[in-house]
Subunit: 654 residues, 2 copies
């Protein structure tokens, strides 16, 4: 019977659960096509060839009054040979599960589509707050069947292009020469069938013989101190491994400016910094792959973020201009390139790399990533994002506007410029309490859960110094208790056995000599307090100027990003005036927001466009050179005027 | 006076010589713009900023009755400060020469535009025949003035992009990361003015501070034996230097198939072949640059051609498939890539490379280039292009059709498989004559202008062997003289003192033992004649089958390409039936046609599109497997039946 003789086809009702979408489809339509017509895309790596088994669905049996249909498994065509083969090989019960690409509709059906069979998977992204992310990465797998080579026929790549056009409607797809080298062997090993990894549907970046499934990528946050690498399954969105290491550039310069100087003035310095960071990223990718029992060559996509100096050093661009006015970036646009061209040689030879955009000379891709991780944000609220390091990056999101600035806090919060300051390593005092009634002090150190007054007699925590959060808590506690005046000087009228005059100033003994690791007292000096005041004033003034810039008095939410933001106690930060007033419940440590943003951009291509849009929308406000900065800064030097504004702390002694 | 108050502007007549284009232009229009309006584009690397002095023109003085105008130098605005500065610095007489970008029209003007000031230069391309080529390469120079960096302003590359859009109407221009590394220093060294080299107006491939002029490229013919590199000035089209060297792959295999085998079966063989050819091309580029007193880094474009095996080895693709049925190419499309990615490290880091397309497994980019060099060809004639090597590539252009094939001639014409055969090196017998009356023989060797019978007594040419053209001449002369029968056997009835019986066969003594370099006779054996017959039959049969394919009996023109085509004497080639019948005057040795085609594609971008169109139009005809091939081949084994068809040779002795 020819097609022209067919009777008009009957239509049957199809209902897709759990989405609830429904519609009438002609009898004989495969479920895969029918679902697509109703707007539900199922997984089909094999392109509907009944081999991959990704599109499994199940038919509900029964009468569904609400929908007015009776559904039954036999309202589909019986399993064909391919389905039976697959079912036998995978222990699948065909009475329950059917391949949507094979089963065709012969009656009304209510279909259940499990999450795993949906093409667009969603994962809950653990970040500032849980977010639902569509897993739609820049890379995807497609399986193609290519016509065998023939005498005088078209070349292998030309026939593969034809197959992509015919089987996937993909045209003008490109192939790099390094990939061209593996094409012929893959085609023959797969008996003319290959699985391609496509980048943005524009470029073939990997060719595997036959049918394969794995699709992996890394999101890398290149911090000046720490590099973090997340390995993700790009089909499920699952985080498979996270590895981190010290940024090996530290050996060439502790802070950013000393690295800029090293790159500029040391012969070969730029190359050493460039190769050091790439080597570290390669090693992290290898470690992450190993942790997930994968080869690093399984990784075909990478998203990288970092501050502007890290961004330039990653690309091998001399950061000299970032070290001097007017802090010109070589480029602020997002950058796409072959991972091998960047130097990420541990990944697949065809792998791609994407660097998120920067905003301005001081405000890098890490800030853009942090912004991304904070989106979407209610349009009627104001959000302040603060990332404290040697410089504080400050972002204010309010309505349609995004303001960003960088404020020169100096390294006080990292423990530098403080007499007994140190990094937040094991042994550093990170918590401090002063009893308002007894005047007794107690503290905790990194690496120990106990307070110093909870130890058995004769035992100590053996502190080695004070880290950033410890310094803030000490100043805040002493100020709240009245031992430090709003001016920052030790209050002349308050007496405490641990306050010891030094010349015209004074210092506070935090830990006694016999308690410490070094056998020396750990003290807080007047200069230390001054350093904290300078740093917090710079940070506060920067935030304040952004708020002034758009005329708002309060922010609704504060995100404290980065490691510092995780250690700091928001109550103490507000006590010393580090951050503007805000409902304490809405001051949140968001952890490695830059890494979270990088992960979003890895899992979902449209997040990269979002990042670019955010970077473009962001207005850089030069605060340090602003005419109001000096006044705001000087005002902010004082510790907050009235402790009444901090009901969350116990009232100080009178 | 505001613009609105301007009186209607007067128009003046402008006549441009030598093109003769004319029209009326408003008073005050700069000559550069006026000429453009009349369709004549002048050079202006500086973008009309009155600094480059490329647009110099001269005004004719007098009354031109034919045009009805009176022209005078003072019908232009007087020289301005920029023109006077340039004139003083370059010894230019402003009474004679004016800058078209500076001088504005104030009256009727007849302008002479020298060839050097025209933007589209033409060069006469020495190839099969002289051709006029528009010099419109894939790369060009543009000078841009970029806004200085400012605090919080856009990045350097973003401001450069804006300048390109504003000053040259170029949008979405790209920049590779390796170039991004040199951007910031170049901008500052040039005080924010840079000269960019653009590739296809799509991509910045070189950045020079301030204003520079040089633009250079190479065209490379990668032969299996010889590599030839032409260095061209891409602004004038001038050929600056040609360098050639042996293909170093020869050491891994004399002929193509042994190299395919080496790449496939030797561990690391592919890499060695790949790197050997790239090293040779790099060295040739360096030598050519040195010959032209340039740095090789001045080279920003390269076009490469070669047969399919050379093409794959250049790209690092294993040629294994080219060595076995069905001879599948990895890709036949033209390939654009960064020269550095190809491995051409001696060129500028941003330089581009272009490989012309291939046609089929046996018919490579060298054939496409040879086709290109033969275009345009009269539509009512039939052209046969033959490139003889180990395989003969045969192309037939007739009407709108292009047929190509490859015929397995074997290496006889290269001196292999011949008892005393050798390459065409110094000492090889390349010419041979047999006196019909006296039976005396004489010959010439490569590297000497004299015949063997022109030497002083006691002196010899000390031949070392016989090269391809010598073998053909010997067989043709012996055949014409009747010593070799049409069957190829020594004629049993003809006696010559130099014919010596060997078993049931015979051999001919070409050079006596005391004449040769080795002190041994040089002879032509019955087996040698057989080898020549097999080779010529394969070539002839291939050509014949192409002609049969479109039903033509004769060709109007034959191009003999390659080194062999240059040495071979067409009369002798026709005598032995190597090539089909054709008017002898129209059998032309076209030399290195592949190199000529590569040069065309280097000088003019549209020639690359032309090459792609030719490659697509070309129909590959599989001749060796054709059912008629065997019969045609066997028929062609005989030496031509009647010598009457060769009136150009003296009649043989009866």
């Amino acid at each position: 019977m020819s097609a022209a003789d067919d009777p008009p086809q009957a239509a049957h009702r199809l209902i897709l659960m759990p989405s609830g979408r429904q519609g009438d489809v002609p009898a004989g339509t495969p479920l895969l096509d029918a679902a697509r017509q109703l707007g539900v895309e199922l997984e089909a790596i094999c392109g509907g060839r009944q081999t991959c088994g990704k599109c499994l669905v199940t038919v509900e049996q029964g009468t569904f009054l609400k929908h007015g249909i009776t559904s039954a498994p036999d309202h589909l065509t019986p399993p064909n040979a391919d389905e039976r083969t697959y079912a036998a090989a995978h222990g699948l019960d065909l009475k329950v599960w059917r391949m949507a690409c094979a089963a065709c509709i012969t009656g009304d059906v209510l279909l259940h589509i499990p999450e795993t069979s949906l093409a667009r998977k969603q994962v809950i992204h653990k970040a500032a707050r849980d977010m639902l992310v569509d897993v739609l990465p820049a890379v995807r797998l497609v399986y193609v069947e290519v016509k065998p080579a023939s005498l005088g026929g078209a070349g292998d790549w030309q026939r593969l292009q034809s197959a992509l056009a015919e089987q996937w409607s993909l045209h003008a797809v490109e192939l790099d020469v390094p990939l061209l080298r593996s094409l012929q062997a893959a085609l023959r090993a797969g008996n003319w069938n290959v699985t391609l990894t496509l980048w943005r549907d524009q470029r073939v970046i990997r060719i595997d013989p036959s049918y394969v499934e794995g699709l992996y990528g890394i999101a890398v946050d290149v911090g000046s101190t720490t590099i973090v690498c997340h390995l993700c399954d790009l089909r499920t969105g699952q985080l498979l491994a996270t590895e981190s290491s010290m940024n090996p550039q530290v050996r060439y310069g502790e802070d950013l400016m000393s690295r800029v100087s090293y790159a500029t003035s040391e012969s070969g310095g730029l190359g050493r910094l460039h190769h050091a960071v790439l080597k570290a990223v390669n090693e992290l990718a290898e470690r992450a792959a190993q942790a997930a029992s994968l080869s690093p060559a399984a990784i075909t996509d990478a998203v990288l973020v970092g501050n502007t100096v890290m961004h330039h050093l990653l690309l091998g661009i001399n950061p000299v201009e970032l070290g001097q006015v007017p802090f010109a970036l070589a480029s602020e646009a997002p950058i796409d390139l072959a991972a091998r061209e960047l130097g990420l040689s541990s990944l697949h030879p065809g792998a791609r790399a994407h660097l998120l955009p920067c905003i301005a000379g001081y405000v890098g891709a890490d800030c853009v990533a942090a912004l991304l991780a904070s989106m979407p944000f209610p349009a009627d609220e104001a959000l302040l994002i603060i990332d404290v390091g040697t410089n504080a990056e400050i972002m204010l999101v309010a309505g349609s506007r995004i303001l960003v600035t960088s404020s020169p806090t100096g390294p006080a919060f990292e423990g530098a410029q403080i007499r007994h300051g140190q990094r937040a390593a094991v042994g550093a005092i990170e918590r401090f309490r002063l009893d308002r009634d007894t005047g007794a002090v107690r503290y905790r150190v990194v690496g120990d859960e106990r307070w110093s007054d909870e130890l058995p007699p004769g035992q100590t925590l053996a502190p080695t110094g004070i880290c950033g959060s410890g310094i803030i808590e000490i100043v805040a506690e002493l100020f709240s208790a009245g031992f430090i005046a709003p001016s920052g000087y030790f209050a002349p009228t308050e007496r405490h056995p641990r306050i010891r005059p030094v010349g015209s100033a004074a210092e506070f003994i935090i830990a006694l000599a016999d308690e410490t690791a070094g056998g020396q007292e750990i003290v807080l000096t007047q200069f230390d307090i001054r350093a904290v005041q300078l740093a917090k004033a710079a940070l506060y003034a920067g935030a304040r100027l952004l708020m002034n810039h758009i005329g708002i008095e309060r922010v609704d939410r504060i995100h404290l990003a980065g490691a510092f933001g995780s250690y700091i106690d928001p109550r103490y930060a507000m006590t010393i005036g580090l951050i503007p007033d805000c409902d304490l419940m809405r001051v949140v440590a968001v952890g490695n927001a830059a890494g979270d943003g990088a992960r979003l951009a890895l899992l979902n291509l449209s997040q990269r466009q979002q990042a670019e849009a955010l970077a473009r929308r962001a207005e850089y406000v030069e605060t340090a050179a602003h005419p109001q900065f000096q006044d705001t800064f000087v005002d902010a030097m004082a510790l907050p005027h009235s402790n009444d504004t901090f009901p969350h702390l116990s009232a100080p002694r009178a």
